[in-house]
């Protein structure tokens, strides 16, 4: 993956397959580090699965035999001296806690986080998404988006409507810049 936003999109998408109804993404950007938490209320994993989840040759999928999402993200964090830890409880949910040291030569940029949030928000699985970003620039307003608030406004009009989709895309972009 070339940037963190792709890892975030990839790993947060795991919530869709875990029958979650909500996934919360929190990004804290500092000069020295980026701290990312991705938390869902899905089916969770038992101890045995949790042990295997960082192994690239483990996946719950049937379409292929490898599962690279979490191992790749873990490697990205660890190569900077950071870390990725997972806590999970069956029928409660899963939480990914990732740290990346931004002063490391192996650190990768955050990337187009807006486009990742857009893709997550418009997921066809009706999973709600809450995304918060606290930027390193003091003057920049914190970004917050909660699809549950948007759904109230939309009052039955689906996210998949082309005009709604484009509006959401532009809304996210304009609130991030």
């Amino acid at each position: 993956m070339v940037d963190l936003s792709l890892h975030i999109l990839d790993v947060a998408s795991n919530a869709f397959k875990a029958n979650a109804t909500l996934v919360k993404i929190d990004i804290e950007e500092k000069e020295e580090y980026i701290h990312i938490t991705i938390e869902d209320n899905g089916c969770g994993m038992n101890e045995e699965e949790l042990k295997k989840v960082t192994n690239p040759f483990f996946t719950s999928r049937t379409t292929r035999k490898v599962g690279l999402g979490i191992p790749l993200f873990k490697q990205t964090c660890e190569q900077t001296g950071g870390s990725l830890t997972i806590t999970s409880e069956v029928n409660v949910g899963t939480c990914i806690d990732a740290w990346m040291n931004m002063h490391s030569i192996d650190a990768i940029p955050l990337g187009d986080i807006g486009e990742s949030i857009f893709v997550l928000v418009t997921n066809p699985y009706d999973v709600d998404v809450v995304a918060t970003i606290r930027f390193k620039e003091q003057e920049k307003v914190q970004f917050k988006l909660d699809t549950r608030e948007i759904k109230i406004i939309l009052d039955g009009v689906p996210f998949s409507e082309p005009t709604i989709m484009v509006w959401l895309k532009e809304y996210i972009k304009s609130n991030l810049s």
Binding site: P124, E161, T163
Partner: protein
């Protein structure tokens, strides 16, 4: 900066359009968005389809995402379903291909043969 206030207006317009629309469903465009797709560049492809569909006012076309269909080597993969449910699978779809697929297939009803998974995979086999 865009605000949620604006969304209320957009919502009314969208709701009116849904009411006017005929029951007939249009094309469904599905972009593979698992680890394999994301790494190969599926995210900007999905965003480009969304932009094109809105810019060309293709109101009865939906753009959505799906996981991995097991063809990781030729991602990004885009599936197009027509009104009868017939599926065309496109492979190695990148941003410049999006407009071609929209113009020729979605608007013109003609499959873009050279980007279909069958053609892409057979070309790879020739090289090997």
């Amino acid at each position: 900066m865009k605000t949620l206030e604006e969304l209320k207006k957009i919502r009314e317009e969208a709701a009116n359009k849904i009411n006017l629309r005929t029951a007939k469903n249009g094309y469904r465009i599905v972009v593979g968005m698992a680890t394999c797709g994301i790494t190969a560049g599926a995210r900007p492809v999905l965003a480009a389809f969304v932009d094109q569909v809105a810019a060309k006012h293709l109101d009865n076309v939906t753009v959505t995402q799906v996981g991995c269909i097991g063809e990781c080597a030729v991602e990004p993969i885009v599936e197009v379903y027509d009104t009868e449910g017939n599926r065309t699978i496109y492979a190695e779809v990148h941003e410049p291909d999006v407009e071609t697929i929209i113009n020729e297939h979605i608007m013109g009803g003609k499959v873009v043969i050279e980007k279909t998974i069958e053609v892409i995979k057979s070309k790879k086999e020739e090289v090997l």
